[in-house]
Point group: C2
Chain length 197, copies 2
């Protein structure tokens, strides 16, 4: 298949995700990844020095997709309260889609996430930073009341208060009746807390 | 041991919890419960017609302890915002204590909770009603702004927004550093949302 010359980290990660999807996290090996790419496993190791490093990188890539998908809500020009609602709604929709649409891949990544807690911590930091950026915009526009020094802690509180609607530990509840109304009620509560009186 | 005459439902439930603690939810039987009480298993069945009914009742009793422990925060005379903070703090402390202090019994009841979702739903309703009572008091005292018809939905939103600090799905996070600050930040956010401007 492809020659080693054109072997990029991105292509390896794509193939790794494919292999994980096919064989599951317990059975997937670097040799499987190399076979999918038509290269030697040595070529894969030149990009990722260990199997653990490869699994960490593929986890990071999977999580980064969420960050990238949410970025537009951070950079858009709509009022900050609308963008925060949009951001939270999009995060819930993405997680739900992952959990409902491809439960096997989701289960696979739950295993990888358990192995790579530092990657997950960084991912959560990114998400909280995105919320903080929206809150800072809202503050500058006179929409939100949170004082500047409290922005990071408040952003984290917003992330935690909506945990039920993005933490995969709750995935089983996401198909229950009433979950959308429950989500809207929590978002309303959060916005009420943030808005300038 | 005890005579059948003095055999009450409460004594059977006490013994059942003891047996569950000793043998685990997979192995505990009605015969074990009868043996602990020194009665025939027929005597136990006179109070609880099936093993499932017994397990449901013991789950209900276990959950009721939380309701009873939180009741003082509903009936006390302190300002409603203080009582809500107290209620949420006590709930978190109780759940944490159960998870950390007796993880085996907690695991046992997680199994029973999975078997008795209707009991758990009723329990959650009770908890949400307690929050709603505190919110209604706060409204009457001019402390909280939530309009009367929105009290039940808002109480549920408060319960959901603090999910991270009472839902056993998050028990592993409760011993992490920073969890108390995170809890306080979410409670502050919730109170800001509720308070009259």
């Amino acid at each position: 298949m492809a020659a080693t010359e054109s072997l990029t980290a991105e292509r390896i990660l794509e193939a790794t995700e494919e292999v994980l999807r096919r064989y599951g996290p317990a059975k997937a090996t670097v040799v499987d990844v190399a076979r999918v790419l038509g290269v030697s496993h040595g070529s894969v190791y030149r990009h990722f020095r260990t199997k653990a490093a490869l699994r960490e990188a593929v986890t990071e890539r999977w999580l980064r997709r969420t960050i990238d998908a949410l970025r537009p809500y951070v950079t858009a020009t709509e009022p900050a309260d609308e963008r925060l609602t949009g951001w939270l709604t999009a995060l819930f929709a993405l997680k739900r889609e992952k959990a409902g649409g491809d439960p096997e891949l989701m289960a696979t990544f739950q295993v990888l996430i358990g192995e790579n807690s530092a990657v997950v911590d960084r991912h959560e930091e990114h998400l909280v930073e995105q919320i903080a950026e929206i809150l800072a915009d809202g503050r500058r526009a006179g929409l939100f009341a949170t004082p500047e020094p409290e922005l990071p802690a408040t952003a984290r509180a917003v992330f935690h208060a909506t945990d039920r609607f993005h933490n995969p530990a709750h995935a089983a509840d996401w198909s229950q009746p009433g979950v959308d109304a429950a989500f809207t009620a929590v978002v309303d509560l959060v916005l009420r807390a943030l808005r300038r009186a």
